[in-house]
Amino acid sequence: MDLYLLSPEISLLATALAVILLDLFVKEKWILGWVSVTGVIVSAIFALSLWGRVETSFGGALAVDQFSIFFSLLFLGIAALILISSTEYSRKFAAFRAEYYALVLLATTGMMLLASTRELISIFVALELTGISLYVLAGFLKDAKSSEAGLKYLLLGAVASAVLLYGMALVYGLTGTTYLDEIAAAISSQGILGSPALLMGIVLLVAGFGFKIAAVPFQMWVPDVYEGAPTPVTAYLSVASKAAGFAVILRIFYEALGPASLDWGMIFAVLAAITMTIGNIVALTQKNIKRMLAYSSIAQAGYIMIGLAAFTAEASSAIMFFLACYALTNLGAFIAIIAISNKINSDEIADYSGMVRRAPLFALALALCLISLTGIPPTAGFMAKIYIFSAGVNADLLWLVIIAVINSVISAYYYLRVVRVMFLGEPLSEERVHASSGLRIALAITCLGVLLLGIYPWILMKYSEIAAITFLP
């Protein structure tokens, strides 16, 4: 049992506890944010030092491989950006700043564990660690909308957990083990591949994780929770939580249900088509930018599910690459929204009119991120879509890719409408919009990342390919 394999998670947990304790004994509260960021960086250094090792520990429950480290680093990067961009926003709940940072760190720990555990009960515990932290964060503002968001998320999350647990119980009952590799062995040796009970169990697992990734028909909570939650938390939910869901689905379907998985392509393909279509169609009519991005994130989940439907090494590499690009892009968009909305106190798209003259850099950054979400070069979103679509085509899913391309065209309308309002509309007031340096740094990092991955995607793609090969030695 090598504790060093768990060092990224342990150091992050220790940072969370330290932040809570520091808050009790220290007067200068501003250091809390930077302590948290430092903890994230330390954890990332530990994770980087593990790159290249392929080992299991804790009796096979914990796997450290390129796949888990890729995701760990993704989660840590997201967390760092969220923490940096929350420094100003957290004034809204100044008395509970430490709790906020600690909960973000705990949720990140849970996600990292989700990507690296290969045992059903550990997966469930990690999922709950993530989930419970996020339920609290969603309701952190304590106003009517935020409380509603927190409560809805909690109740529906509990339903999803119950469904998931039931699915796990069925799988355990049929195979007699909770370890993913042993489940795979049991399925093939006992010949229960076509068993209805196993199918039922897998459907329930899909439903439980479908809730996390916000796939139709498990997406109903998304708009309400995204709209009500504090904006940095919304940003965190929309990228990290989704990525964690995909990580665990990939892990379970490749490691445990590998033999049964080929029949699953069709289910994922149909869900992908429905998810992206519903997400885009409903997003068209939204007037609130956070709600619009909520539906957009549902649509993006649909694109990513093309990779699940394709079920090849190339496709899982494409999923990882897409998630990283999507994380940068969506975070950038949300950070710009935090900066702008904080000042104008509104999330309505109409109030963004003429923003290019009040906040030229933020408007430009937001436009870049929206262009990337649409999938127009030279942005990360374009490369991500090209990659996942070509994986889809290579897996004989041309019909699905055509639906996705049509969807991308539809999505251009609502994404670029915001750009149009910002660039061609008349400003509602002449007051300039300024923001803290934390937000500026975070925004600069995301925008440069979006451009860098759009211009030279290979620097990340080669790592996502290595990580994907973990599954198919």
Binding site: E148, K152, L155, L156, V159, A160, V163, G194, P196, L199, M200, V203, L204, V206, A207, G210, F211, V216, P217, F218, M220, W221, P223, D224, D263, M266, I267, V270, L271, I281, L284, T285, E314, V356, R357, P360, P378, M383, I386, Y387, S390, N394, I410, Y413, L416, R417, R420, L424, S437, R440, I441, A444, I445, L448, I455, Y456, P457, W458, M461
Partner: protein
């Protein structure tokens, strides 16, 4: 090692952009000078490396120092490389770009002093320079296109630098949209070429074109597509309308756009793709005709403009037309079989790039000079100037040298490069040659009209200068770049640029005066100067009465042939801006809403459920989860 140094040429300004954007502007915003120094150090580094590269290229085999490609992307069968090349063409360009850029940055310290966006300005200038340097070094069309768009983006940001001024925001938008029309053709051509040949590599494309593998209609369409990109960027007719309006940006930006970056990119692109484009007779003839026509067309509008920067802008368009004409003429000679392949390929590039090289110096000088004038008077309107010769002696002297050089007076830089182009045009495109000759006359006239209106006569400004303490000579930081550029505007023509580019051009200081062509062009030039002197210097003829007697022609010129109005009414505003949004609005109203309504009408109950779902009832959400699970199970049992 050479590779790293060559990459550093264009990566240094990018690094400077990152440093300013990520470190200096967020944290040291109260010390804006740091940004200026960072930019200047980075571009000075580029310049040193460029000069080193130039010397190294000269000593290298075949004049190619490096030509490397790296894998950029591989998705399935699609493998795309990126890479840079450092050959004689790239070397000349990087030296020109970094020299001009460095001087412009130094000048900007004085010019932009006290502006609120000082750091932002230098960040964008770094990015602009870096993109242009990358553009001239790219060895692959896709990579080149990337920098091409980068240059376009920076020009948008810099022209609209004072974005709170509606006219600046509008000019920036116009520049962006108009050049985008050309870029669209360029992009289509790049993709078309890739589909036909399977490569983006410029060298490979040339081999295919020269070997005749790539030919016929395919080649012609691709070549014209690429040329359309150059037309947009270089402000050639009919996409020239953005360039005069681009004056809304700060003057050093105009100098940079006109002399070294942005507009020269179009000429460079044609030079870089010359072997391929010249392989299509139709395409190269189009290049020659558009170039020749633009030269005289833009010069005619320069005759009447009253804004000094606009005069210079029309002059740039006209001179870029010359460069296109030079390449077009050589290409026509090659197509008709008058020049052999080896000689033609070098010669076409050499005449155009030589003029680009000399033009960069005197045009930058003239722009910075006009900035210096406006620094004192607070205006660019020549009708409100006059008599500045005594107040700004340094500015006057340097501006005069620049004007003489542009007018093509022996032995200044402009004479030599213009001579090269006229010589080739006379040999292979006689009609266009006479158009170019008339342009020589017009050029001399409008430049000296500007000189006399600005520096001679009496001051007509009335109110005091922009700084409220009277008219004065500009500070040293502005004058020094002017003087350096003036030196180059004299000597740049004596440098063996043509030979360096592989063309067999014999340079002889006095020998040039033995040809009849030189004498004719000099006579045309002096005639223009004398006419300007008669009208604006001596007032022997009244400008107003001439204007009146020419009546409709004068109106036509002052309104720029009504092309702006044409585009505004019909093309740009109606079609591009309104049209796109009308189409989007129509899609919204009919297709999107129609689809939503249609869905709702067809499945009334479904529609009701959808609406109820959006009211946010938790029970419904939970129900949806279970209905979803049941639906998946049903689906599975049906198909398994």
């Amino acid at each position: 090692m050479p590779n790293i140094a060559v990459w550093a040429i264009f990566l240094l300004p990018f690094l400077s952009f990152l440093i300013i954007g990520l470190i200096l502007r967020p944290f040291f915003n109260n010390r804006p000078m740091l940004s200026a120094y960072t930019t200047i150090i980075a571009i000075a580094g580029s310049l040193i490396l460029s000069i080193w590269a130039l010397i190294a290229v000269n000593g290298a085999e075949n004049h190619v120092l490096t030509d490397v490609s790296y894998q950029w992307l591989s998705i399935g069968d699609l493998v795309i490389n990126i890479g840079i090349t450092m050959d004689s063409l790239a070397a000349i360009m990087v030296v020109t770009v970094s020299t001009i850029s460095l001087l412009v940055q130094i000048y900007s310290i004085g010019y932009m002093k006290g502006d609120g966006g000082f750091a932002r300005y230098f960040a964008f200038m770094s990015l602009f320079t870096g993109s242009m340097l990358g553009l001239v070094m790219a060895n692959n069309l896709l990579f080149l296109f990337l920098f091409w768009e980068g240059v376009g983006l920076c020009s948008y940001l810099l022209i609209g630098f004072w974005f709170h001024k509606p006219s600046a925001a509008r000019a920036a938008m116009k520049a962006f949209l108009v050049t985008r029309i050309g870029d669209f053709g360029f992009l289509v051509a790049v993709i078309f070429l890739y589909v036909k040949t399977g490569t983006f590599d410029i060298g490979e494309l040339h081999e295919l074109a020269l070997a005749g593998v790539l030919g016929g209609t395919t080649l012609t369409l691709a070549a014209i597509g690429i040329f359309s990109g150059a037309v947009g960027k270089s402000g050639q007719f009919p996409l020239h309308t953005w360039l005069p309006d681009a004056m809304e940006g700060p003057t050093p930006v105009s100098a940079l756009i006109h002399a070294a970056t942005m507009v020269t990119a179009g000429v460079y692109l044609i030079a870089r793709m010359f072997p391929m484009i010249a392989s299509s007779e139709t395409a190269i003839t189009v290049v020659a005709i558009i170039g020749g026509f633009t030269a005289i067309f833009a010069a005619s509008m320069g005759l009447v403009a009253t804004d000094i920067k606009r005069v210079l802008a029309f002059s740039t368009i006209s001179q870029l037309g010359y460069m296109m004409l030079g390449m077009g003429a050589v290409g026509m000679g090659y197509a008709s079989g008058a020049i052999d392949e080896h000689h033609a390929m070098a010669l076409g590039v050499a005449v155009a790039i030589f003029h680009l090289f000399t033009h960069a110096f005197f045009k930058a000088l003239l722009f910075l000079g006009s900035g210096s004038v406006s620094h004192a008077t607070g205006t660019f309107d020549m009708r409100k100037m006059g008599g500045l010769r005594k107040i700004q002696p340094w500015t006057y002297a340097t501006f005069l040298i620049g004007s003489l050089s542009l007018a093509g007076i022996w032995p200044l830089a402009g004479f030599w490069s213009k001579e090269g182009i006229l010589h080739e045009a006379n040999a292979y495109a006689p009609v266009l040659f006479w158009l170019a000759m008339i342009t020589v006359f017009m050029t001399a006239f409008y430049m000296f009209r500007a000189v006399f209106l600005t520096f001679h006569g009496e001051y007509r400004g009335g109110e005091e200068g922009s700084h409220g303490h009277g008219l004065h000579e500009s500070p040293k930081i502005i004058i020094i770049p002017l003087v350096i550029l003036a030196v180059f505007a004299v000597i740049a023509g004596w440098l063996p640029v043509g030979d360096f580019l592989g063309a067999d051009v014999h340079f002889s200081f006095f020998g040039a005066l033995t040809s009849w062509l030189a004498w004719v062009s000099l006579i045309f030039g002096f005639a223009g100067i004398l006419l300007a002197y008669a009208i604006y210097g001596r007032k022997l003829l009244s400008a107003e009465s001439i204007g009146k007697s020419l009546g409709p022609i004068y109106t036509l010129l002052i309104r720029k042939y009504f092309i702006d109005e044409l585009y505004e009414r019909i093309f740009l505003m109606r079609f591009l801006v309104d049209g796109v949004f009308v189409v989007l609005g129509w899609i919204d109203a009919h297709i999107v809403d129609g689809a939503v309504n249609g869905v709702a009408m067809v499945t009334m109950t479904g529609g009701k459920v959808m609406r109820r779902l959006e009211t946010g009832q938790l029970q419904v959400y939970g129900l949806a989860i279970f209905v979803g699970i049941l639906a998946i199970v049903a689906f599975l049992f049906m198909f398994n």
